[in-house]
């Protein structure tokens, strides 16, 4: 009884993280340092594979931003993956921009495209929003295949790296991709710790109440939608810089949405760590189930359904919040 009184008397302190956050920051620095050193130790093939993994991390993180934090289930992010990829090719090969500069510019193009698009997409809710985003992706795909300058239906090659020795090129693309992962994951982390993150949490818990308290629900969602488009554009540019080819049928494929969803669901929706773990798991599954052909998507799909129903917080949720390497929430404690 006395303890309660004392606790109530002292002003509560709002804190975030604690020891876990320092461990998380330390681990992140070490991981990035080790990964950054890798090109000096590994083969080109390994680096190309790792860039593939990095793109999965970025895609998962972006889909988690949309659905886990913004409450928007999109199955049309391939629109921005494609625009990012095509943007890189067009800027680098046709306009002549330096490819490493073209990557962020392509992401900006995605953001500029996503802003007006959001006004259309936000007229739909829930499941209809999901299909609406897919229609938008299909429209972008169909329009791109009509443009001869982009190679129409057969796609185009990235020629901007022509002067660079492949060993250096692959290492540069690897470092660029690693930098993108750091920017995207760190950006989402900072975004979620900002006022906007607080607003998004309020919206997720109770949109009506948040709206009536003056939280700009639509504005917050629009910022998330545009940021996720830019991030997916970076991932698309990364994928094309890695493979040097872009084809409308594959870069605009809804399979990307499937991957993003599976990564986030399996890893743990609504956390920073979840998509990273999900991307690692998905990458490992993709690798080990490669012989199964399309059965691997059947297996991964069944796993995702099972996780949604049985362990909706995903693999990271199995830690039951005991470990929080990237704490975004606030806690009220007494000391």
């Amino acid at each position: 009884m006395t303890a309660t009184v004392e606790r109530a008397a002292s002003a509560p302190r709002v804190r975030r993280g604690g020891r876990g956050a320092w461990v998380g920051a330390g681990l992140a620095v070490v991981a990035v340092a080790v990964l950054g050193y890798l090109p000096l130790l590994t083969t080109r093939g390994t680096q190309v594979d790792l860039v593939g993994l990095f793109s999965l991390v970025v895609l998962g993180t972006m889909w988690n931003l949309l659905a886990g934090y913004g409450g928007m289930v999109s199955i049309g992010q391939q629109a921005y993956i494609g625009v990012g990829g095509y943007g890189l090719v067009y800027l680098a090969s046709t306009v002549g921009v330096d490819p490493f500069l073209a990557v962020p510019v392509a992401a900006v193009v995605c953001a500029l495209l996503a802003w007006p698009t959001s006004y259309l997409a936000f007229r739909l809710n829930g499941g209809y929003f999901a299909i609406g985003t897919w229609v938008i992706a299909e429209v972008v795909r169909l329009l791109v295949t009509q443009v001869d300058a982009l190679g129409a239906g057969s796609g185009a090659s990235l020629t901007g790296f022509a002067g660079i020795d492949p060993t250096y090129r692959i290492a540069y693309v690897y470092w660029l991709s690693l930098a993108i992962v750091v920017v995207v994951v760190g950006g989402v982390y900072l975004l979620m710790r900002s006022r906007l993150g607080l607003a998004l949490t309020a919206i997720r818990d109770d949109p009506t109440a948040a709206g009536s308290l003056g939280v700009g629900v639509t504005r917050a969602k629009r910022v998330v939608y545009v940021a996720a488009a830019a991030g997916c554009g970076l991932a698309g540019a990364m994928i094309v810089a890695n493979t040097l080819r872009v084809q409308p049928g594959s870069i605009f494929s809804v399979d990307y949405s499937a991957m993003m969803i599976f990564i986030v669901v399996i890893g743990g929706i609504g956390t920073i760590e979840g998509p990273i773990i999900g991307a690692l798991v998905f990458y490992a599954l993709q690798d080990s189930l490669a012989d199964l052909g399309n059965w691997y998507l059947v297996v991964v799909g069944l796993v995702a359904i099972a996780v949604t129903l049985l362990a909706p917080k995903g693999l990271w949720g199995l830690t039951r919040g005991r470990v929080e390497l990237f704490p975004t929430g606030h806690r009220v404690g007494s000391r």
């Binding site: 659905a67 409450g71 289930v73 199955i75 259309l120 007229r123 739909l124 829930g126 499941g127 209809y128 999901a130 299909i131 609406g132 897919w134 229609v135 938008i136 299909e138 429209v139 169909l142 329009l143 295949t145 009509q146 809804v254 949405s257 499937a258 969803i261 599976f262 669901v265 929706i269 052909g293 399309n294 059965w295 998507l297 059947v298 799909g301 069944l302 995702a304 359904i305 949604t308 129903l309 909706p312």
Partner: protein, 289 residues
């Protein structure tokens, strides 16, 4: 006359789009979830009819007698076994589960039947046509498909308006907890709604599969066209959905008449224009159905 022809073809195609959409709308109206596997399930039904034709030599129309009840049973089981559980898991869970299901089914079909395009053979009916005037002929089969589409939609409308189960469905759609206090078992009723949705989408899938080709990946566009029909027509109105299907079908046919590559794109653009200018659709309705 080719323009008139395109419009007529589009109207007939719209009847089938509306039939796919009717099931999507029904499930959304009753339980507020969008089944993202709806399109793939139509394709599954078409493959079912294909297998029956291949193995037993059944005409697609006879195959319907098997495929429709089987799909309805699958729908009931799917709802009771999977989707009712997902409904308890918040707003995202039903979308994640149905999208996962769509990917699982599509890739399983791909492994079982390869990516080859197929078509259901309806025999002489497939080539028969009626001459309506100078240069204007209407295929008997597309006409029949459209008529079946309209009849099934009308039957769903009558079911909801006149039967005790339909009434219970509308009551549950309004207020599930209050409906439970009237003795209505929401879980069973949701099962019935999904059974009807899959039974009708099976009819649509078989007719679509006989009208043109299909492959395991066709579920995506099937879902998209149904969704566009729903939004163009106005959420929650069965007759609006029929109108939406017709508008979409005509837009696609006219686009394709300009250039075959523009058909689908023209449909999407009409959808986006309606979304931008009349977000509640052409025939908005306050009543959920």
């Amino acid at each position: 006359m080719s323009w008139v022809n395109a419009v007529v073809q589009g109207i007939l195609l719209g009847g089938l789009y509306a039939l796919v959409a009717a099931g999507l709308s029904l499930v959304f109206g009753v339980m507020r979830i969008v089944n993202l596997a709806h399109g793939v399930l139509a394709v599954l039904a078409a493959f079912g009819a294909y297998v029956l034709g291949d193995a037993l030599g059944l005409h697609p129309f006879l195959a319907l007698l098997v495929v429709v009840p089987v799909m309805a049973a699958v729908g009931y089981g799917l709802q009771r076994g999977l989707l009712n559980r997902a409904l308890g898991g918040g707003e995202l869970a039903p979308l994640l589960v149905t999208f996962g299901l769509a990917i699982v089914l599509q890739n399983a079909l791909l492994e079982a039947f390869s990516a080859d395009s197929r078509r259901l053979d309806v025999g002489a009916l497939g080539t028969a046509s009626i001459r309506l005037g100078d240069g204007l002929t209407v295929g008997v089969f597309p006409l029949l498909a459209a008529v079946v589409g309209v009849l099934v939609i009308a039957a769903i409308g009558q079911f909801l308006a006149r039967t005790a189960t339909g009434r219970a469905m509308r009551a549950t759609s309004d207020d599930r907890d209050a409906a439970a206090l009237m003795g209505i078992d929401g879980r069973h009723l949701y099962g019935v709604a999904t059974a009807i949705a899959l039974g009708t989408v099976a009819i649509a899938g078989v007719f679509l599969g006989a009208r043109s080709t299909f492959d395991p990946a066709a579920g995506g566009v099937t879902l998209i066209f149904a969704f566009e029909a729903v939004v163009i027509g106005g959420l929650g109105s069965l007759w609006g959905t029929l109108l939406g299907g017709v508008v979409l079908g005509v837009a696609q046919a006219l686009g394709a008449a300009v250039d075959p590559a523009y058909g689908v794109l023209a449909g999407h653009l009409v959808f986006l224009v309606v979304l931008a200018t009349r977000p509640r659709g052409l025939l908005p309705s306050a009543v959920t159905a």
